[in-house]
Amino acid sequence: MLELVWLIPALPLAGFLLLVVFGRRLGEPGAGWLATAAMGGSFAATLVVFLGLIDRPGDDRFFTQTLFEWVPSGDLSVDAGFLVDPLSISFALFITGVATLIHLYSIGYMHGDPNFSKFFIYLNLFAFSMLLLVLGDNLLLTFLGWEGVGTCSYLLISFWFTDKNNASAGKKAFVTNRIGDWGFMVAMFLVFVTIGSLSYVDLLGAADGGQIAAVTATGIVLLLLVGAIGKSAQVPLFVWLPDAMAGPTPVSALIHAATMVTAGVYLLVRVNPVIASSFGWTPDVIAWVGVITALVAATIALAQNDIKKVLAYSTVSQLGFMFFAIGSGAYVAAVFHVITHAFFKALLFLGSGSVIHAMHEEQDMRRMGGLRKFLPITSVTFIIGWLAIAGVPPFAGFWSKDEILLYAWNNNVAIWAAGSLAALLTAFYMSRQVFMVFFGESRWHEPIPAEVPAAAAVADDATSEAGGNEDAEVDPETGDAEPADVPDHAEREHALPADFTPHESPWTMTLPLVVLAVPAVIAGGLNLPFTKDLHFFEHFLEPSLFGNEAVLTGGAGTKWFVAGASIVIALVGILAAAAVYLKRRLSPEPFEQKAFAEGWWIDSTFARLVGGPGTAVFNAADWFDRTIIDGTVNGVASGVRAGGTALRVLQTGLARTYALSIVVGAVLIAAWFLTRASL
């Protein structure tokens, strides 16, 4: 059954190709159904492969399928092939599963969009790229998928590209990702130079066998970390992800929950033997990157008013959790969290999409409230997602987060402390969101509070303005990017009619919510901490980890203490939020610091850097390009032109002259051969 692995990426690819050809003809909703069917088939294929995999004995769960030799070039020979092992198949499972649901949801969400079929083309291509990334049996194939998801995210984020902000958000994601890609590529070169192959089997085998020097391994891991930071939106390259909210909500769910952003986590977990053979401080670097990201993003999320931005920063924060899990050696926990996060974050995003849909594209939480009554299904499922992410047992998020914190404690208490703080903030801002959106009074006819528009404009558009400056990075000549002069909600104020009431979304949108809510509740069962026998997931992943999973030193007491602390933290966060936003006992002012709202000025710092010294460098490069490179090229061209002008006289246009020259040439050739023959 494992031989069917090629079907997993092939089906979305087929869907993509079919839609490219017939998409417009199929129209709405046929194109969507085709894409969904392709994804569903892919999910089914993944299930089959998964069953085939668990059918094998534990140490035999490592299967490669070579399709053809892809890049034969001297010493470099790269096959196009797939690698099936517990790690890749776990990723493939939740990717195809969640993607199927998101496809389904999109049919409803994208209803009436003029580019309906194009959206599904991109979605299918995205899913194909992601599966290639995960299932590829060598770094180059993974890189292909890596670039593929980058391209697709660019296309999807700027799907409504007629709006300048959306377009620049897409560009920002693309450019930021380039930095990470640079790291990935250099890492690949290093790998090839070191072991002469790019295939995972060789790389992991070499690393596991201790054939890679610690220096080299550290270099590879750090470079891959750069790639992962770009793709998985870690500090300092996380700035693109919140802007990526410009895309349609299903895209946000697909990119931020299930797939693209987890690529970095996948990559680092995949190369765990390399991490193991690097210097001892390397994992700490990863861990600190993760924990700082988790904290920074969580603080920023506190002060956001856009329903999707909150979720975006929360994603960044959760990805930070996964990173410091990897840094702490808790690979299983990291992947576990990836999976639970995929479920509940997809649920939350789709839920927010449903809310936005109901509110006629209104995204400002200050104009929502009390939606519980109007959107029963959405609100119930959203609340489940909230409880899951906040870390309330027995919802899925609790188990994975607890596991991570446990390993963090085991590794370094400082990291645990910072992580716990991040968890507290998570519980707080998520509760804030839920209370603002679903509880309290409905506020959609109220104007935004008087002092807010300016602040909100700053807060809301800080990132998009920076997006404009990112734009400047791409094109240095238009240094003064046009600021977003009209705040979005000012336009929307007129969009809602007086007798407006929110309405529940169609079934294609609510069905995925309900389906996703189920694993958001129970996915924790994958890896229960109580006894060794309940560590299903850990056992399953074992063959992929080469025994590099950290070993817990503390006893059961530590476990219970960390778990208890997690529960307390979650409850404190929720209660505090309730006090501030539900009961209005406390002013929200201290929580919504300007620094938080402006994202610690990271974006604007980037913009200033790029706009100041950066521009000078760009100008220098521009000068070099124009004068030296163009000069060389043009010089050659004008030389050729001068020669041509001189030789033009020979071209008389008279056929007989040409014929004469041919005869002369023939005579000369004959003479040449005769002299050679006589020698």
């Binding site: 005869v663 023939a666 005579v667 004959a670 005769l674 023959a677």
Partner: protein
Amino acid sequence: METFVFLVGAAVILAGALGVVLSASATRAALSLIGTLFGIAVLFVAQEAHFLAAVQVIVYAGAIVVLFLFVLMLLGVDTTEDLSIEPITAQRPAAIVAGLAFFGMVMLALSAGADSVTGMPGAFDPVAGTVPDIVALGRSIFTTHVFALEATALLLTIAVVGAVVLVRKAETIDPDDDISPQLQDASTEDGEEA
């Protein structure tokens, strides 16, 4: 016997060739060309290439030169060319010098390797006549050279289509042609045949 045939054939060939080059009228040139082609066919027969001789007559004399004559007649381009002038300076002496140089080269090569053609002798002996040339030729063409055969078939088809398209276009561009429609019809038909 072969000497006689060769001498007569060579005389016809050279006379015809000179006729092509020297006669001012294009029609005379075409008639001279027929003479040359016949001479070649005769020499083919003298060298036991019977099939090629027949094909030479059928294709060259029967189709190609007929085409020339058709074009000459229909387009009225049979103006006698004034051979006493030469618009391109020094073209004529240069041509003669180059031609003689080429001929000299070939003669040199021939004298260097007279009667000693290099290469592996094949099994086909046309003089002994054990295998009729047409059988041997057929085998060669339909086994060793079958791909080339298909390619030339394709080439012919393309050529015919191309010729028809070329000629048709001119018709639509220039409807006030001085050729009567009937004759045009005939010329198109002829183009298709060859």
